[in-house]
Amino acid sequence: MTVDGALPGVQPMIDDVAAFEALVRQNDRWIVALASRLTGRVEDAQEVAQEAFSRLHANRKSIGSDEQVRPWLRTVTVNLCRDLARKRARSLVVVNEECVARAAVESNPETHASHRQREEILRAALLRLSEKERTALVLRELEGLTTMEVATINGVTEAAVRGDIMRARLKLRKLLAKRLGREGQ
């Protein structure tokens, strides 16, 4: 039974495969988008999304209401991305360096970079942040969560989240200024 403006209820479709598939189709895009911003790789994002939905399927009985599905999926996705980033910390740094180096070579600091190059530079710069800073900034800016919600997902205090976001913004500024050739300190 679908409620207007809300996700289809999980509890009634314990044995309804088609309904669960519909739930996946409704949520896979934003889950993959969130995971791709946190991991930087499409393949990793898809793997994380698959795992998140697998866990949702396994824990469907423990999710009480419709409103808890999206926050539950978001929390699981963030945790999976964090685990994946820790496992691939070294390789992730190599990928970031490649992206940033390629974007820097292609862009001329004397002129404005193309729109696509700026997007690549921005994505690469986002991946240069630490895992905590990137997660806090993505959840705050791209998911539109409040500081308290971000703190709940990450399991830290609100003050810690504010600090992570502040450092993320300043680091991002310096990275973008360096790569895009903007004047600034």
Partner: protein, 183 residues
């Protein structure tokens, strides 16, 4: 307060936090900090407008890639493995392959009893000798293949040709040495 110390309050301001004391007045006077605030806000907008990566929709086919079985299946698998390893026909040969000894005439090969004794007992690892002496295999090669020794050594060098006598105790070996000069 220097401009560097205003960076954090400015970043918090972009995040929607209330401005720190004196920040508004400083922004009116300092062009650098004012530019920083504009750049941070521009970055915020750019971050929110970066399009999502073009990803194919997820294909959910149940618990794909994960095999989960109940306890009864796990017990059945364990029982099957136990039967496979316990089957008499699957037991490996306990005796390792026999080492090959190219014994010259006059020297007897190791007796089977001694060889078996060697295999059953754990082999003692002798401490490494500090002297620079050839390994046991090298001595055996010197003993059994003297013509090659002449080819390996340069003119004028000396060598000790060893004769190896094996005893009933595998850890005790008697070596007879003599000098020869190759010219």
């Amino acid at each position: 307060m220097s401009c560097e110390k205003w960076e954090e309050p400015i970043a918090l301001l972009v995040d929607g936090e209330p401005p720190a004391d004196g920040l508004a007045e400083h922004l009116e006077r300092c062009a650098t900090c004012s530019q920083l605030l504009q750049d941070l806000r521009a970055d915020q907008i750019a971050l929110r407008t970066v399009p999502e990566l073009d990803v194919a929709p997820l294909q959910w086919t149940g618990r794909r890639g994960r095999i989960r079985t109940g306890w009864w299946a796990t017990a059945a698998i364990a029982a099957g493995l136990a039967i496979v390893f316990a089957w008499p026909g699957n037991r490996p040969d306990p005796l390792p392959p026999q080492p090959k000894w190219d014994n010259p005439p006059g020297l007897s090969p190791p007796k089977p009893a001694v060889a078996a004794k060697i295999r059953k007992k754990p082999r003692r690892i002798a401490p490494k000798k500090q002297i620079d002496s050839p390994a046991r295999d090298d001595w055996a090669q010197i003993l059994f293949e003297p013509p090659e020794l002449e080819k390996r050594l340069p003119r004028g060098s000396t060598s000790e040709v060893a004769m190896q006598i094996q005893t009933s105790n595998p850890d005790v070996v008697i070596l007879l040495l003599k000098e020869e000069r190759f010219e």
